[in-house]
Amino acid sequence: MRTGTVYTETVIYSAPEAFVNDVPYQTAIVTLEGGGRVTCRIVGDRVAIDDRVVEVEERDGVPFFRKGP
């Protein structure tokens, strides 16, 4: 699984139609170990800029990351 560091993040309280049942939830842009960035959802503990994160799964084409390893 991919690893990286958090470039930026936010916690969303006001969601579009498709995500209203998920609030609050965290999204982030992660700078990947091998280069490039990806926009993802965060699961588990909240993360902050510069935290290390690891990918846990992909759902409907959206990568989910958590704090770690």
Partner: protein, 386 residues
């Protein structure tokens, strides 16, 4: 290239108008501009409509002739421009380019959006379609959350504080309270602005612009013909449009908008002025952080210092370079497709000394910055006395 002047402007109030449809708003603004410029519909040689999402918001497509014919404008080209929140700034740019290049002499541009007939979650969904739907939006982002991520990084890199963001909201509400056509005429305190309910951290309700209905219109002609129509022409001194990636994750640095820098630089060169010459501006404060970043990207203040620049009052109505004397998108309202021409209206009002209680003393050279999405389109326009 020919020099171009704005000879007529018109605008509806911005707000929530349950009894008004898209076309009636557009027609009201258009008719006001015709009257203001002393132009008849038969004289209009080309028509541009700026609109972001009429098909999604109100279920109507083919909007340009839908509006132009209702204004009594027949037979001429009628073209809709869509560039997210920069739709009518871009429509104005294309109208200008037609006059400047000599294709047509008398060109009208109208911007309109009718948003409040949809519930907020649906509005967020429609607005989100202006982001990259294959990636960032699919993950559950909204425009508020994209700008929240920009704010987080700006705070991290430059020490920008929540107080700095909130001071932009306080200033723009103070200005909007003096604007009879503003959506929200309410003065707020810094404490209120800091403590509102969270939307996407670190942004709260008062960091976000409004969901509004409204329309604005302008008529452009060659400068050499301006006196045939209006006693108060305003000159287009510089204008440029630039573009960039939709997705934030494709950018090296999200604390700056390259499209704003490029459009601003080109517009300054065309006008033969520098950032320091600009006396006042209408900047695209869709979120408070966007105004702060725009003051940096346009060179009003050095990179990273936009937060303190706002907080210390330099952009207040009484400051050295007032920003958003209209109330901005924050308080005046943000009917997406109307915003770009709405900014032109506000500059023209100040330059003509018709801004009432909001009138500022140095008002002969103004700049409008209209941003689409999270920076994928930008139009910068510099207007001055003719």
């Amino acid at each position: 290239m020919r020099d171009v002047a704005v000879i007529g402007v018109g605008k509806t109030p911005f707000g929530a108008f349950p009894d008004r449809d898209l076309r009636s708003l557009a027609v009201e603004a258009g008719e006001k501009a015709l009257k203001n410029g002393r132009v008849t519909p038969e004289q209009i040689e080309s028509f541009y409509l700026g609109n972001f999402a009429g098909p999604s918001f109100v279920g109507q497509n083919h909007l340009a002739p839908y509006v132009s014919t209702a204004l009594g404008i027949q037979d001429v080209p009628a073209t809709r421009i869509e560039a997210a929140c920069a739709s009518s700034g871009s429509a104005f740019y294309h109208a200008w380019s037609e006059v400047s290049s000599g294709v047509n002499d008398i060109v009208m541009v109208v911007g309109v959006e009718k948003m409040t007939s949809q519930p907020t979650a649906r509005v967020s969904q429609i607005l989100a379609e202006a982001g990259d739907c294959s990636g960032e939006m699919r993950a559950g982002n909204t425009f508020a959350s994209l700008f929240a991520m920009i704010a987080r990084r700006h705070m991290h890199d430059f020490g920008t504080l929540k107080e700095h963001l909130s001071s932009v909201a306080v200033k723009n509400h103070a200005n909007g309270a003096l604007n009879p056509d503003a959506h929200m005429r309410k003065v707020i305190t810094l404490e209120q602005a800091m403590k509102a309910k969270p939307i996407a951290e670190p942004l709260n309700l008062y960091d976000c612009s409004l969901i509004s209905d409204g329309a604005a219109a302008a008529i452009l002609v060659p400068l050499e013909r301006a006196r045939e129509f209006s006693g108060k022409p305003v000159r287009v001194l510089g204008i440029a449009q630039a573009s960039d990636y939709l997705a934030l994750d494709q950018k090296d640095d999200i604390t700056t908008f390259p499209a704003v820098r490029r459009a601003g630089g080109k517009a300054y060169r065309m006008a033969g002025v520098t950032a320091q010459d600009i006396q006042f501006a209408e900047l695209h404060d869709c979120f408070t952080i966007a105004e702060i970043v725009a003051t940096e990207d346009l060179g009003f203040v050095e990179r990273g210092r936009g937060g303190p620049y706002a907080f210390e009052g330099h952009t207040a109505r009484t400051g050295e370079r007032p920003v958003n004397t209209s109330g901005g998108l924050k308080a005046k309202g943000h009917p997406v497709g109307a915003t770009g021409v709405g900014q032109i209206f506000d500059l023209v009002q100040q330059i003509r000394c018709e801004a009432g209680e909001r009138q500022i003393p140095r008002h002969s050279l103004g700049l409008a910055e209209n941003l689409g999405g999270s920076g994928a389109t930008c139009v910068v326009t510099i207007l001055g006395e003719a």
